[in-house]
Amino acid sequence: MEFSYNWDWSVLLCTVEDVEIGCIAPYFYWIVEGFGWTIAVASAAWVIAFSWGSFIGILRTLEAPIWLVVPFLKPSMKYKSSVIETGNGAVMINIGWFLHGFATVYVTIFRNIPLLVQMFLWYFVLPEVVSKEAGMWLKREMPLPEYWTAVACLGLYTASRVGEAVRAGINSITQGQHYAAMAIGLTRVQVYRCVLLPVAYRIIIPPLTSDFLGIFKNSSLALTIGVLELTAMTRQIDEYSYQTFEAFTAATVLYILVTAIVMFAMRIVEGRVAIPGMISLGAK
């Protein structure tokens, strides 16, 4: 059997519906639009992944007790070890173990369920298990339900990966640095903000870059719940024009283009924030 295929790269440049010139639809704008949605999904999801993931990662590094001050509460003897009376009518409750446990469970769940399954759980299952009104809101009434569901799903999934990177970064800093930061009188929040995190984030630039590239590429899964991002648009062009190779080549090139730019940019960032005098092979 002979392989016959009519190459026609010009379909990618169709900007009008004009069958005369072989354009059933404005494919060029479809690609632009799909690309736009891909960027929109990935960047919004990254905001969630980075901030929530950092929070989760930080929680997992906490060891010493965290005291929550609760006014007007009478401690019961049973929980004496994690409750302290302050003397002015309030009690302090140690919630450190709870926060740490919560973050650990979070990472375990979100990192271990396949992303596609998570996408379906958020979009098809969640609206059915919550109350009828809430389900209705999730499916129909909230603005852009497919988009925001995809963003939340990708963001929360990637947060578990970012969290692990942040945890690894913080844990790679010596105990001596913790001690020194505490010894000069910094509070725990200041120890993290001024000493641990600035160093930890520098260390984890490479894995964070990977996570961002991951979120960008994984955004293609949003097509399964109806977001018309780049991959979805590419398939649509394929179905309309039968120019499969051209359409997917365009998508491939666009994906690679963006990831290459991100990698290059992060290399520059890594070099810029490298700590003078510290040996860092990757950031020369």
Binding site: G176, A180, G277
Partner: protein, 260 residues
Amino acid sequence: MPETENTTPSVESSPGVGMIQMEVVSKWYGNFQVLVNCSTKVDKGEVVVICGPSGSGKSTLIKVINGLEPFQEGVVTFDGTSVGDAATNLPMLRSRIGMVFQSFELFPHITITDNINLAQLKVLGRDENEATNRSMALLERVGLMDQKDKFPAQLSGGQQQRVAIARGLAMDPAAMLFDEPTSALDPEMINEVLDVMTELANDGMTMMVVTHEMGFAKRVADRVIFMDEGRIEEDCTKDEFFGGERGDRAQEFLSKILTH
């Protein structure tokens, strides 16, 4: 019964109560006891050297004073404030105690000046100008004015340790703790650090120094504490310690480190 006693214990600095006071302090790591009923007292302006074989609990002992290491039994007070009390504001307490570590522990991502400024800005609430002025004065004092804009990793060990001392002093501490400040240094750099410490002691700073530098102890210390297996075996004046009135364990230790 309503309690009417003063709730701010830090004002009771009666004579006889040391700046640093430890009463039968014990600490365990799991089943392993690192501190066994340690009691001692350091008065204002006193310089106390702590020595002993490795693993004897010296470092742990001074880290207990500013609450870096929790302890399970006993009472530690610093200038009247109980360190082990859960209601004590530990960051506030620590800001009044300077600490210098064996491996310097400067913050690698900020300049020398920023290292010394950091806690002044964040803890004492000084403004940038005030903090920098203080930092410059301290850098001048430790002889590192020309290094002010460098990063820690660009300095030699001895220089880093002097910066670390300046960082501690920038908080105008009531006492300074030194945890083997010269152990990680090349021999030719040890003296530049010891000189700064000697000067500090002569200025009347209250100091607790974990060190094996017996020359420094002889020159500067008021008292020497010898520790072994988590216990304070000797706690006496310098003259008593070096004059021969010491126990067998201390004798053995000294003969090991003073042979050359």
